[in-house]
């Protein structure tokens, strides 16, 4: 039986990979996907704790995280579409206008 610490370590590793992706990538879509990866790693640790304590609350929280992830993807991709329409690029280093 795998202990909970391995799941928590895996969750931390995935979260750090997501953070690194947000920091080093310049494509806005990939950055959004890295945020999804980070949400997922948090889900792993929530479910690991729920399974460890025999408590369903962690799994219910994952539902709400899923809903938040869906809303975040919808809004984030809409923002990316709007940015692309305005300066024909989704390179986030080129998004430097405060207003137009």
């Amino acid at each position: 039986m795998i202990g909970i610490d391995w799941y928590l370590a895996l969750s931390a590793v995935l979260f750090i990979i997501g953070v690194i992706g947000v920091l080093i990538r310049r494509n806005a879509i990939v950055i959004l996907m890295c945020v999804e990866l980070m949400l997922n790693s948090v889900n792993i640790s929530l479910i690991a704790f729920a399974s460890h304590h025999g408590d369903i609350t962690g799994q219910v929280l994952v539902f709400f995280v899923l809903a938040v992830a869906a809303a975040e993807a919808v809004i984030g991709l809409a923002i990316i579409l709007a940015i692309f329409r305005n300066n024909l690029s989704i390179d986030i280093t080129k998004v430097n206008l405060l207003r137009w």
């Binding site: 539902f63 899923l66 809903a67 869906a70 993807a73 919808v74 991709l77 809409a78 579409l81 329409r85």
Partner: protein
């Protein structure tokens, strides 16, 4: 109960092995004589032009958005079905409020006309006396409540 998913895992492994094995055997025994015609991308007999990465229409995003939102709604409906007998009318009213709130967004989208999909009407060539063959364009543009299009390519007919 959990061990039943082991069967699914075995099924997946078996399927992957089956595909890989049959592809490998086929690679061993089939003849390999490529030429330029064979390697060309098949596009219904036409000569393929341009890149395969064409730009999709913007409104597919709206469709995908609605699909995502209503899929999340349905995933929150699944446990409701299982426990409806235990909780009773309280669960019914809870879900009623939930679905009502979701449908506010749907009504907004429907009312704003984001789901309307103006189909390009065909341009029929017509013979006019003294002029010759002219393209009979559709008479009127759609109503003004309709959102303006980014891509004029969708509005154009075949001959334009």
């Amino acid at each position: 109960m959990i061990a039943d998913f082991g069967n699914i895992l075995l099924f997946l492994i078996h399927g992957a092995l089956f595909v890989a094995l049959s592809l490998f055997v086929a690679k061993l025994i089939r003849p390999h004589r490529p030429n330029a015609e064979k390697l060309m991308t098949y596009e219904c007999g036409e000569v393929p032009i341009g890149s395969a990465r064409v730009q999709f229409n913007n409104r597919f995003y709206i469709i995908g958005l609605m699909f995502l939102i209503f899929e999340v709604e349905i995933l929150l409906l699944f446990p409701w079905v299982m426990v409806f007998q235990d909780i009773g009318w309280f669960a019914f009213w809870a879900m009623f409020v939930f679905v009502f709130l979701i449908f506010i967004g749907f009504a907004y989208e429907l009312g704003k006309g984001h789901l309307q999909w103006d189909i390009p009407r065909p341009v029929v060539p017509k013979y006019v006396e003294g002029v010759g063959v002219v393209d009979d364009y559709p008479a009127k543009e759609p109503a003004s409540s309709e959102p303006a299009l980014d891509e004029p390519a969708l509005q154009t007919g075949v001959n334009r």
